[in-house]
C-alpha cells in the first residue's frame, strides 16, 4: 500500500490528469457523412470489405433512435459537432522505437503515471497505448510472439490478420446492435486486438491505457479479444482524460470471444474526467461490452467505475455453450453531478451455465447511481444458475441509488437468486474510526474500500492498489 504521505498528496490533488498536450493534430472538421467514413477508411488503408461494413453500419445507425430508457439525464449530443478523426501529426512517419516518439506524448504518459520506458523494464505488463486515435507504442511484442499471442492495434490487425478480424469483428456485438455500437462500427478509429492460440496461457497480463486528447474528438475504440480453445488471457483496461469544457463523447465497443474451454478475464479501472461539481465538461461514456462463452468457457468482467459525467455501460456475457461461466464484479462510484446507469446482462443459453453478479454502487454528492441487470434463462438452459448481489452505499442525503433487476426464465430447472441491500456509512462506524484518531475523510475512504473488497479482490494486484487509490481521490470532499 502507498504510504500516508503519498495518499495525502493524492487526496490534495485536483484532477491531476487535467492538462492538454499540445500536439499538432491531423483532425477532420466536425460532422459525419459517408465521405467522412471513406476518409477514415482510406487514411487507415483498409480493405474494401471493411469500408463496406462501416458504411452499412452507418446507414443503419442513421435510422436508429438514441436510447432513452436509461436513468440518465443529459442534453442531446450533436453528432455533427464532433470530429471523427484525429491523429497526432508526428505519427505520419511511424516511430521505429519509443525513443523516436514525440517527447510531449511521452511526457503526457508520465503525468498519468504510465512511463512506457519503465514499463518495458518492469516485468509483466505489455502496453498498447492509445493516444487519441492511433496507437503509438507497443511493448513486449516479441515475448508474446514467442507464445504465439497476437496483441496489436486493431488497425494493424486489419492489415496483418485480416482473416481473424473479418471472422470475429461484429460477431458478438453486431453492427446494428444498438445506437452507440452502430456509431462505433461506422467510425471506430483504433483499439486493441488480441488473439490467444489454442491451449496457450498468455504469459503476461495485457494492458491498454486510453486517453482522449483533442477537443471535440469523439473516441470510438474497438477492442476484439479472441481466446481460442483452452486458452487463457487476463486483460486490463484503464483510462483517464484531460479537463476541458465541452462534453466529450466516448462510445467504445469491446467484443470477447471465448472458444470452448477458454477463459478471458477483463478488468477495467475507469477514470474519465467526471466534470466539475455541476458535471460541466465531463465525459459521456456509452460503452457496449459483451462476450460470448462457448462450451466450458469462462468470461469474467471486473470494473471499477469512478469517472465520466454519464456512464452507460453493461458488460455482458452470452453463455452460449454448455457449462459456460459468466461473472460480473463491479464498483461504481458517483459523486457531484455524475450519473451512472450500469450493470450487466447474463444470457444463459446452454445447459448447466452459471453466472455470478456482484455489484457495489456508491453514491455521494447529488449523484445518481443505478444498477440495471438482466438475467435471462433461455428455453435450453437446463440447470442454469445465477446469483446476483447488489449493494448500494449512500454518502450524504442528496444522492440516489436505484436497482433495476430484470429476470426472465424460460426453463423450470433454472435458479435465479437476487440479493440487494442499501446502506449508509453509519455514524457508529465513523465514530469508531475518529475515536482512533483517523480523520473523517480517511475513515470514509477506508469504510468504502472495505465495502468494495469483494470486487477489488478480483482485480490483479497492481490494479487493486490503483483502484483503492482512485476511490480515495474520488471521495475527497464527499463527507458531510
Amino acid at each position: 500500500m502507498s504510504s500516508q504521505a503519498e495518499l495525502d498528496k493524492v487526496i490534495r490533488s485536483e484532477y491531476e490528469a487535467g492538462f492538454t498536450t499540445l500536439v499538432e493534430s491531423d483532425t477532420l472538421p466536425p460532422g459525419l457523412s459517408e465521405d467522412v467514413i471513406r476518409f477514415i477508411s482510406a487514411k487507415k488503408g483498409e480493405p474494401e470489405w471493411l469500408l463496406e461494413w462501416r458504411l452499412e453500419a452507418y446507414r443503419k445507425w442513421r435510422e436508429m433512435p438514441e436510447p432513452e430508457w436509461a436513468h440518465l439525464h443529459y442534453p442531446k449530443v450533436d453528432y455533427d459537432a464532433i470530429s471523427y478523426y484525429s491523429a497526432p501529426k508526428s505519427m505520419e512517419d511511424r516511430p521505429k522505437s519509443l525513443d523516436e516518439v514525440d517527447p510531449e506524448l511521452l511526457d503526457t504518459y508520465k503525468k498519468l503515471g504510465i512511463p512506457l520506458h519503465e514499463q518495458e523494464m518492469l516485468a509483466g505488463v505489455a502496453v498498447d497505448a492509445v493516444f487519441d486515435s492511433v496507437s503509438i507504442g507497443t511493448t513486449f511484442k516479441e515475448k508474446l510472439a514467442e507464445a504465439g499471442v497476437i496483441f496489436c492495434s486493431i488497425s494493424e490487425a486489419v492489415q496483418e490478420h485480416p482473416e481473424l478480424v473479418r471472422k470475429y469483428l461484429g460477431s458478438v456485438v453486431p453492427k446494428s446492435d444498438n445506437f452507440f455500437a452502430g456509431l462505433n462500427s461506422a467510425v471506430f478509429t483504433d483499439g486493441s486486438f488480441v488473439y490467444i492460440p489454442k491451449g496457450v496461457r498468455c504469459p503476461m497480463e495485457l494492458s491498454t491505457y486510453f486517453r482522449i486528447n483533442e477537443a471535440n474528438t469523439g473516441q470510438f475504440e474497438r477492442t476484439l479479444i479472441v481466446a481460442d480453445e483452452g486458452s487463457y488471457v487476463s486483460y486490463l483496461e484503464g483510462c483517464t482524460a484531460p479537463q476541458r469544457d465541452e462534453n466529450q463523447l466516448h462510445a467504445a465497443v469491446v467484443e470477447l470471444v471465448a472458444l470452448p474451454g477458454a477463459e478471458i478475464k477483463y478488468s477495467t479501472v475507469q477514470n474519465w474526467y467526471p466534470g466539475d461539481e455541476n458535471g460541466k465538461g465531463g465525459i459521456y461514456n456509452f460503452v457496449t461490452k459483451r462476450g460470448v462463452a462457448h462450451d466450458n468457457a469462462k468470461i469474467s468482467w471486473t470494473q471499477v467505475e469512478t469517472g465520466s459525467a454519464i456512464t452507460w455501460k453493461y458488460p455482458s456475457v452470452v453463455l452460449r455453450g454448455d457449462n459456460s461461466v459468466g461473472e460480473f464484479y463491479s464498483v461504481a462510484l458517483t459523486r457531484h453531478a455524475q450519473q451512472a446507469d450500469t450493470g450487466t446482462k447474463m444470457i444463459h443459453l446452454g445447459k448447466n451455465t452459471r453466472s455470478t453478479i456482484v455489484s457495489k454502487g456508491i453514491s455521494a454528492g447529488k449523484s445518481s447511481n443505478a444498477y440495471r441487470g438482466l438475467v435471462r434463462m433461455g428455453p435450453r438452459a437446463e440447470n442454469a444458475r445465477n446469483f446476483t448481489q447488489c449493494d448500494s452505499l449512500l454518502l450524504g442525503d442528496r444522492c440516489g441509488a436505484h436497482t433495476f433487476p430484470y429476470i426472465e426464465s424460460k426453463h423450470p430447472s433454472a435458479t435465479v437468486e437476487h440479493e440487494a441491500t442499501t446502506s449508509k456509512v453509519s455514524d457508529d462506524q465513523l465514530f469508531l474510526c475518529r475515536q482512533r484518531g483517523i480523520d473523517p475523510e480517511k475513515a470514509i475512504s477506508m469504510i468504502v474500500n472495505g465495502f468494495c473488497k469483494e470486487v477489488f479482490k478480483e482485480l490483479p494486484m497492481e490494479f487493486a492498489v490503483e483502484a483503492g487509490k482512485l476511490l480515495e481521490v474520488s471521495l475527497e470532499g464527499a463527507v458531510g
Binding site: 475518529r434 475515536q435 482512533r436 484518531g437 474500500n449
Partner: protein, 251 residues
C-alpha cells in the same frame, strides 16, 4: 491530567450530566460506578466526542486541552482512548489496516516515530497474544463476525498498541465470562503506568477484583454522589446502590 469541572451534558437535547466533578492524576485508576441510567456511559461518550453528546456547561480539560474544542480525532490524537461498550463492525476493513491508519494518525500527531510495517505487525501480534486473540484476527474485518468477548478483547488489543494517555473503558466487563474478564484485566493492568490515567466505567464490582482501582466514584443522576477508595466498591456490592441513591435497586 484530566480535570472535569461542573460538567453538564445532554444527549439529543436531554440533560444527563448535571454538574460532575472529577480529577484524574497520572498513574491513577478510577472506577466510575452507578446504577443504569446514572450517566456513566454518557460521561465516556461525552469525553470522546460522540455526535449528539453535547457539553452544555462546565469543562473537561485533558492536559491543558479543552475537550469541547477538539474534534473526536483530535481528542484521540491528544491521547484519549475509549474502549467501546458495543464495538461496531466495519466489514471488509481488516483490523491491521485499521490499526495502521489509527497508529499513523495518532503517533504522527504526538510526534512519536512512525512504525514501519514489520514493527507494526510484530507489535500487533504481541498485543493479540496478550489478550489471547489469535493473530488471524488481524486479517479479519474490524469486529466482523467476532463474538462479544472477542470484540472486547479486540478493543483492549487496540488500546495496548495505541498507548493512550487517558484510557476510558466503557463497561468493558459486560458480557465477559470469567476467563475473558481476567484476560482483559491483565491487559489493562499491563498498561498501568505513572504516565497514564485509566477510568473504568462499570456497573459491577467484579472487574475491580482484577483491576484494583485507586479511587471509586458513585454516579447517580448525573452527579458523583460519593467517592472513596477500593473498599467503596466492596461496600456497594454488599449494600447495592439503593443505599446511596435512596432508591430500591436490585443490582
Amino acid at each position: 491530567m484530566l480535570e472535569i469541572r461542573d460538567l453538564h451534558a445532554a444527549v439529543n437535547g436531554k440533560a444527563i450530566l448535571k454538574g460532575l466533578d472529577l480529577t484524574v492524576n497520572p498513574g491513577e485508576v478510577h472506577a466510575i460506578m452507578g446504577p443504569n441510567g446514572s450517566g456513566k456511559s454518557t460521561l465516556a461518550n461525552v469525553l470522546a466526542g460522540r455526535d449528539n453528546y453535547e457539553i452544555t456547561g462546565g469543562q473537561a480539560i485533558l492536559d491543558g486541552h479543552d475537550l469541547a474544542e477538539l474534534e473526536p480525532e483530535e481528542r484521540a490524537q491528544a491521547g484519549l482512548f475509549l474502549a467501546f461498550q458495543y464495538p461496531v463492525e466495519i466489514p471488509g476493513v481488516s483490523n491491521m489496516e485499521f490499526l495502521k491508519a489509527a497508529l499513523e494518525a495518532v503517533r504522527k500527531a504526538q510526534g512519536k516515530e512512525e512504525w514501519d510495517s514489520v514493527t507494526l505487525l510484530r507489535k500487533a501480534r504481541e498485543a493479540c497474544k496478550q489478550v489471547n486473540l489469535d493473530a488471524q484476527f488481524l486479517k479479519r474485518g474490524v469486529n466482523e463476525g467476532f463474538s462479544g468477548g472477542e470484540k472486547k478483547r479486540n478493543e483492549i488489543m487496540q488500546m495496548l498498541l495505541m498507548e493512550p494517555r487517558l484510557a476510558l473503558l466503557d463497561e468493558t466487563d459486560s458480557g465477559l465470562d470469567i476467563d475473558a474478564l481476567q484476560t482483559v484485566a491483565r491487559g489493562v493492568n499491563s498498561l498501568r503506568s505513572p504516565e497514564r490515567g485509566i477510568v473504568l466505567v462499570t456497573h459491577y464490582q467484579r472487574l475491580l477484583d482484577y483491576i484494583v482501582p485507586d479511587h471509586v466514584h458513585v454516579l447517580s443522576d448525573g452527579r458523583i454522589i460519593k467517592s472513596g477508595g477500593k473498599e467503596l466498591a466492596l461496600e456497594l456490592e454488599q449494600k447495592g446502590y439503593g443505599w446511596l441513591t435512596g432508591e430500591e435497586e436490585s443490582a
